[in-house]
């Protein structure tokens, strides 16, 4: 490796200019020759038997090329537990169930045709509350599991539990105990670019699919399986990822609309595009799961945490996505945020006839950090200790092994706490502004920083292909969805290999050309890609230097000759060239090869493109350089029943704090300023890093204060940005200070840890704690709306009438 010349320095996104000029191409912009447009007919009931589907009128509409239902297509099972189907047969279990689909020559005809499909249903008793769904006699959402075995309960057989330490003794030894029930709502990821795909089959039955996915290779596996279900065994799905209009977890599963596009493409022999409208996206794309958590935690007289019990109940909705594995990540903060000796954690997930849920940024972590950090402030109050001080006393430290077995290699939580407190003027402000209805609050986070192993391989590969002109073409199977992966990867390749960043070109993600990668989740993209790239670059340098030794003398002779021509008085310095013609004598930096011992002499420097041509064009000895490296992080797949295992190669920490002002008459909360402090290991791209932190924080504000997908008896009641409010620029009109702590993790590429998700993890409890500091009421159910604050203040007035 060469010295760092680009990593950590200001640079611009490689795709920025194309995006700024409208030249980046999203799924919305792609067209294939002969392409048809697909449209789905969704269920009109939350739970009902399908009695009859009449597609005849739709079929007769001019321009319609195919109408399909489960009754005339092969059964294609989908989903993490294979409990879902591309098209539904016999019964629907949620409003958005796909009962039929159309392919037509334009989107308008497809939409018209869908309206002509008539479905006769026999409504069934439905269940919308996860607690009611667990009761005996509740309607069963699924009567059999994926293998056809009878199911007796709506509770999924996906258990994650953990118990460590002597809970009873720890509880007895506690001086203070805080407990409560907390909830989080359904959240719509709200990608600005809606979901869509284009499926195209060749005559042999191989599929090419342009997919809005974060998991190209797991999607390939799912699509290959579908081809098998369709009677096309051994055929291959090639997944190509266009520019993504946001991801935020929506791309961690394959979706029914994608399989429907495949079925329609197979039926018609034409490429078929499916594209959700915004209303369809709100109504039919799985939101983040809602959760209800019961927590009890305690501390001793000095504020040291003694134990923590948490029970989480999640509403799965009607089918199971990867998002149902949120508890695997909840386990980390539950057991490992601060030092706690005894922990019990249980999570249950229950089928209902609500819309089924999927992943979103943070993946379970915000859901449990919310109760942990709120009750931590309650403990601080009981113990009479400043909440900042209580956090400092319990902070994690390097070298610690947490109750779940997470091995803390590096940890900057203490520095983050101090940084946040300083930016907020904590000591001057905390508890001192109640007259002005102002308050400050903070909350911490732990998250996987070195990927999170929830699959048998957690790795990813990178191919570096050097061409005759000195370009480096990089193939990586993970996904740039806006987060800045390609910024970090470009700078890493530039420095690890020793080339100029502008000579690094990242190829489109394509399963046919990129090595396997488990997917872009768990804040792992840059961590994995850059680690793999460094390994590939090291090998490329080794081979390059080895071969350079064979041509260096000849190339230097050409340099000397040309130098002499241009500078007639020049005499070649007396250099013993054979000593320089050794692999270990070379360095490569910013696309120039030179001897380490004489870095500054122009006649001894060879430009990379010229060197590569010299290695290529030399008869039978000719070689080109293509290197691949696969990086599998040093982590363990946890034992989920016991909740034990070092799931990540390293852990990232952070603290967010806010100052708020509350209007007690209206319940309006105004954020006056905010700080987001993060242990990032090492900064790779400052611009991308800041973007992840600011963007995460804004999502955290929406989550905390106003976002909520309203589901009324299983139907989404607010499917638009008018009724589902996300933060606008006007709402974000307060300063956000960013504090960066570099802890240089040994597992990280140049020491870096993942930073994709942390920005929204502790936002809600930081705001709730600040509201408590300002007006002394605590809201347990997100979002913290003005109505809830007004109601809480009214309840307090009823309990404690003002003294006369």
């Amino acid at each position: 490796m060469s010295e760092l010349r680009h990593v950590g320095r200001e640079s611009v996104r490689p795709d920025a200019a194309d995006k700024a000029t409208g030249r980046a191409h999203y799924i919305h912009d792609l067209v294939r020759p002969g392409m048809l447009h697909g449209k789905v007919k969704f269920s009109e009931h939350a739970h009902a038997r399908i009695v009859h589907i009449d597609t005849s009128r739709a079929e007769r509409l001019p321009g319609v090329r195919a109408v399909i239902t489960a009754y005339d297509t092969p059964e294609v099972r989908i989903g993490f537990l294979r409990d879902n189907f591309a098209l539904k047969r016999d019964k629907v279990r949620q409003y958005r169930d796909e009962v039929a689909a159309v392919a037509a020559i334009d989107p308008e005809i497809a939409a018209e045709a869908v309206e002509l499909i008539r479905v006769e249903y026999e409504p069934l008793g439905a269940v919308f509350d996860p607690v009611e769904a667990m009761a005996e006699g509740a309607p069963l959402v699924h009567e059999v599991d994926a293998r056809g075995r009878p199911v007796e309960s709506n509770v999924l057989q996906l258990t994650v539990g953990h118990e460590s330490g002597d809970l009873a003794a720890a509880e007895r030894a506690s001086k203070h105990i805080a407990e409560g029930e907390f909830s989080t709502p359904l959240i719509q990821q709200s990608c600005m670019g809606t979901a869509g795909c284009i499926a195209e089959m060749d005559v042999r039955g191989n599929l090419t699919i342009w997919a809005k996915t974060q998991i190209p290779f797991l999607a390939q596996r799912d699509f290959n399986r579908a081809l098998e279900d369709m009677g096309l065994p051994g055929r291959n799905a090639r997944v190509i990822v266009p520019t993504l209009g946001g991801g935020f977890g929506t791309g961690l599963d394959t979706h029914a609309y994608e399989f429907i596009a495949i079925l329609l493409a197979h039926r018609t022999g034409r490429p078929v595009k499916m594209l959700y409208t915004r209303e369809e996206e709100f109504a039919n794309l799985s939101p983040r799961q809602s959760s209800r958590t019961r927590i009890v935690q305690g501390c001793d007289a000095d504020g040291r945490l003694t134990f923590r019990r948490m029970e989480v109940l999640q509403d799965n909705g009607a089918y199971t996505s990867w998002g149902a594995t949120f508890p695997t990540v909840m386990l980390l903060p539950a057991t490992s945020l601060y030092r706690v000796g005894a922990v019990k954690f249980d999570a249950r997930i229950v089928y209902t006839n609500n819309t089924y849920c999927q992943a979103m940024r943070g993946y379970g972590n915000p859901e449990v950090t919310w109760p942990i950090e709120c009750t931590l402030d309650e403990l601080a109050e009981q113990a009479g200790i400043d909440p900042f001080e209580l956090r400092m006393r319990n902070r994690n430290e390097p070298g610690e092994v947490t109750p779940m077995g997470a091995r803390v290699t590096t940890c900057g939580l203490g520095e983050c706490l101090e940084g946040a407190a300083e930016k907020l003027d904590w000591k001057e402000k905390r508890g001192k502004q109640r007259n002005a209805r102002r308050g400050v609050g903070m909350a911490s986070l732990i998250h996987v920083g070195g990927s999170g192993r929830i699959y048998r391989s957690d790795g990813g590969g990178v191919i570096l292909k050097l061409d005759d002109y000195g370009n480096v073409n990089v193939s990586y199977g993970g996904v740039e969805m806006g987060q800045g992966l390609h910024s970090a990867l470009t700078l890493t390749v530039a420095d690890a290999l020793g080339v100029l960043p502008e000579r690094v070109h990242i190829n489109p993600t394509d399963t046919a050309t990129c090595p396997w990668d488990v997917g872009t989740h768990a804040s792992r993209g840059a961590f994995i890609a850059c680690n793999a790239a460094i390994r590939a670059a090291n090998e490329a340098r080794r081979r390059l230097f080895e071969m350079a030794a064979e041509v260096y003398a000849q190339e230097v002779a050409r340099n000397a000759e040309s130098h002499r021509r241009k500078n007639p008085g020049w005499t070649q310095p007396d250099v013993f060239l054979p000593a320089l013609c050794r692999p270990e004598a070379f360095d490569l930096r910013d696309s120039w090869l030179f001897p380490k011992s004489r870095p500054d002499e122009p006649w001894l420097r060879i430009e990379l493109g010229r060197l590569l041509r010299a290695l290529h064009f030399r008869g039978e000895k000719g070689q080109v350089i293509v290197e691949e490296a696969f990086y599998e992080p040093p982590s363990e797949l946890p034992d989920w029943d016991r909740g034990m295992g070092n799931m990540s190669a390293c852990y990232t920490y952070g603290v967010q704090g806010v100052e708020v002002e509350v209007d007690e008459d209206t319940g309006e909360v105004r954020i006056l300023r905010a700080v987001s402090a993060h242990d990032v290991g090492r900064v790779l791209s400052p611009q991308a890093l800041a973007g992840q932190i600011y963007g995460g924080f804004a999502q955290g504000v929406g989550y905390a204060m106003y976002e909520e997908v309203r589901s009324v008896e299983g139907r989404i009641a607010n499917p638009s940005f008018t009724d589902y409010k996300i933060p606008t620029a006007a709402e974000m009109g307060f300063p956000v200070d960013v504090v960066i702590v570099e802890t240089d993790d040994p597992a990280g590429p140049f020491g870096a840890k993942g930073i994709g998700e942390p920005g929204l993890v502790p936002t809600a409890p930081a705001i709730a704690n600040a509201i408590y500091d300002a007006i002394g009421v605590r809201i347990h159910d997100l979002p913290i709306t003005p109505e809830k604050i007004v109601a809480a203040l009214a309840a307090r007035r009823r309990e404690t009438p003002p003294s006369r």
């Binding site: 000029t21 600005m192 946001g246 915004r278 987060q483 940005f721 008018t722 933060p727 606008t728």
Partner: protein, 162 residues
Amino acid sequence: MKVECAFVVNGEPVCVDVAPAARLVDVLRGPLGLTGTKEGCGNGECGACTVLVDGEPVNACLFPVLEVEGREVTTIEGIGGPGGALSPVQEAFVRHGGIQCGFCTPGMIVTATSLLRSNPDPSDDEIRDGLRGNLCRCTGYVQIVDSVREAAKAMREEGADE
């Protein structure tokens, strides 16, 4: 039934056959091939489809194409200079990180361009207020506001040089 609609787009006169009820966004993205304009909601809520009609920002997803008859439309493709040169606003978005997934970017840049024409020296609050009709889910708007502020500065300096 289709009718002819003649207007100027990015400085070039065009004449297209359109359905009378067609939306401007569909004509731009379809027959005119100007896919830089994005449709994010189809309902005038997100601003991704913002274009200028006679210099005024409109949501192309709500704008009937027949209403641009004889008028001038500017899309993101017409914001920059000739030969792919970036406008000061585009340059600032690139340099200051105002872009992540990029789906809101064309609309955001068109709106910001219009904002700076009417107010060359906006305060941060005025910038945020001017952009409130353009949703972004990635950035938290901080680097977008930085970009617009820096673009304004660069444009004022450029103006002072002339």
